[in-house]
């Protein structure tokens, strides 16, 4: 029977599709929601590379290269050395946008995840959508950043484009953990500010980003080893200018990042399931 509200819906087919594609429907929702803050996203995507590359590429790099004689990055110069780190930092920054307050809004302020779950989407699919939307935004943002790096002559290797994937992996690893953490916040958002100040900012500074990790005292170096940003940056340097390191270490970077993503994602699924199904 056709109702006043349109043709009948095949409910069995709806359930089948939701079981298979629910994670994508959750991602789609988040992507559509980005339209509301598209201006901020575009400003960050195009503005960040311009600001950082002028400051570091034209400013700091010329100073470092003059005093050090372009010894960094195997003679390619400081900008080439720092380029994968800038990409990684941009990825982590964009990841924070999508995996903190946006996730809290879904649970608490707008409670849209409860609406998704009242439809056929499962908590696991909702959590997966939260991680996947970050991957998509990071791929787009890092590609744009990479084009700027090319324009600034900071990508000597033909494999340099793989830095996009390295940064995306690093950003996603941070995002997966933040999605899990933000999903667990039931009260106010102040713990997020603490995480940004005392975890994310130190991570950006002490992950072998602006100077090699080896320049730090040994007791500070573990910060880099556990930091997804260090692994993403080192991986990026291998691709960007052929930084020499043992192949097992390159593989370890990839595996470590994948492991952090997997753990963050599983935690996010578990916490989402508990919160929505209580």
């Amino acid at each position: 029977m056709t109702t006043v509200l349109g043709a009948p819906v095949d409910h069995a087919e709806a359930a089948r599709r939701a079981r298979r594609w629910g994670f994508w429907y959750a991602t789609e929702h988040r992507l559509l929601g980005m339209r509301a803050y598209a201006g901020t996203i575009l400003a960050a995507t195009f503005g960040n590379p311009v600001i950082y590359l002028f400051a570091l590429g034209v400013g700091l790099a010329s100073l470092v290269d003059r005093s050090a004689g372009e010894i960094t990055a195997d003679g390619h110069g400081y900008l080439t050395f720092v380029a994968p780190a800038l990409l990684g930092i941009a990825a982590v920054t964009a990841a924070m946008d999508e995996s903190t307050y946006a996730v809290m809004a879904g649970f608490k302020w707008d409670a849209t995840y409860f609406a998704m779950n009242a439809a056929p989407l499962s908590p696991a699919q909702i959590a997966t959508g939260n991680v996947l939307v970050v991957v998509l935004r990071l791929l787009a943002a890092c590609t744009v950043y990479h084009l700027f790096l090319l324009a600034f002559g900071a990508v000597p290797s033909p494999l340099g484009w793989l830095t996009i994937l390295a940064a995306t992996l690093g950003g996603t690893a941070v995002a997966a953990c933040l999605v899990a953490f933000s999903s667990s916040l039931k009260g106010e958002d102040s713990p997020l500010a603490l995480v940004m100040r005392f975890v994310i900012t130190p991570m950006m500074l002490f992950s072998g980003t602006f100077f090699p990790l080896a320049s730090l005292p040994l007791f500070l170096q573990p910060i880099g080893w556990v930091s997804p940003l260090w692994h993403a940056t080192e991986l990026g340097r291998v691709f960007n200018y052929g930084m020499v390191e043992p192949i097992w270490l390159t593989a370890a970077h990839v595996l470590y990042l994948l492991a952090v993503i997997a753990i963050g994602w599983m935690l996010a699924v578990r916490i989402t399931r508990r919160r929505l199904g209580g």
Binding site: G6, A7, A14, R17, H29, L121
Partner: protein, 307 residues
């Protein structure tokens, strides 16, 4: 008639606390069924179990012939859910809220366009299609939430306090829309604090308190069973009510003394009022009214405040 919902000894425990303590009921296809109860009675917990999002800790539950523990998505694909608090996406515009929700049911964008327009028409929001959600009034948001719940052409619509916080006009518009859905054959299950709403909308209802069912029946049956045909309300001033009430014993079926008035439950309020005046008592105000579901509700769940 076929039962679309069957709950048997349904239970939900959080540690030692039983939010729902072994309730049993059935809802027939096309019926408007109400769950009434004070705050903390277990209504919303029950609704979440009926919505196949919260698993039970005891008893059996069948929704549209399926077990929610095993077939959550299959059940939810056939439900429309209007939660107690609107959970619309404020980052999306009005029409986009419907489109994105329809996608959760795997519906194509091509099919969703006309359906969203029909739903906006139904919810009297067609002229607000491109508005931001925050620009809508409370009543409009509620209607949009209901429109969203209908996007999948649900067989059962679950409404948790659908009109709480709305002004009388908005409530009446909403009732009208719900009536139309009922006429169309949609099964309605609702919780409400408003007894007039329950009387207006529900064919049958259960009164729940402290996680258990206190009474079940149609509004008229419950009134007949737990109250009288009429209620006489008399006021003698808060300092005198208790003393005067002692002289009224034996009047009607039952006399209830409240701080501000005395209620006489009776078949004939005018006759009891004449008897009171005949005793030489002169109330400050008096009112004879039909007994309502509210009288039943207060009798069954008490008058003490639950917060």
């Amino acid at each position: 008639m076929t039962a679309v919902i069957a709950a048997e000894a349904l239970e939900k425990r959080y540690g030692d606390v039983a939010a729902v303590d072994g309730i049993s009921f059935e809802v027939q296809a096309g019926e408007a069924f109400g769950l009434l109860g004070p705050n903390g009675a277990g209504k919303s917990t029950t609704m979440r179990m009926l919505g196949a999002v919260s698993s039970r800790t005891g008893g059996t539950l069948s929704i549209l012939g399926l077990d929610p523990d095993r077939s959550g998505p299959e059940i939810r694909a056939q439900l429309g859910v209007v939660p107690q608090t609107d959970n619309l996406d404020r980052e999306l515009r009005v029409r986009d809220n419907l489109l994105v929700y329809g996608r959760y049911f795997g519906m194509s964008r091509r099919d969703l366009g006309p359906r969203a327009d029909a739903l906006l028409e139904f919810a009297q929001l067609a002229d607000r299609a491109k508005a931001k959600v925050d620009e809508l009034s409370g009543g409009m948001k509620r209607r949009l939430t209901i429109a969203r719940a209908l996007v999948n052409d649900p067989r059962i619509l679950l409404l948790d306090e659908p009109t709480t916080g709305l002004d009388p006009q908005a409530r009446h518009i909403l009732w009208d829309r719900l009536f139309r859905l009922k006429e169309q054959g949609t099964t309605l299950v609702l919780t409400t604090h408003y007894m007039d709403e329950a009387e207006q909308l529900c064919d049958r209802l259960v009164v729940v308190d402290k996680g258990v069912i206190m009474a079940e029946g149609s509004p008229a049956e419950l009134i007949a069973r737990y109250s009288s045909r009429e209620v006489l309300e008399v006021r003698f001033g808060s300092e005198h009510n208790v003393r005067v009430a002692e002289q009224l014993t034996g009047l009607g079926d039952r006399v209830e003394v409240l701080p501000d008035r005395i209620l006489v439950y009776t078949d004939n309020g005018e006759r009891e009022l004449a008897a009171i005046v005949g005793q030489g008592l002169s109330p400050i105000t008096s009112l004879v009214r039909r007994s309502s579901l509210e009288d039943v509700f207060l009798r069954l769940t008490g008058r003490s405040l639950v917060e």
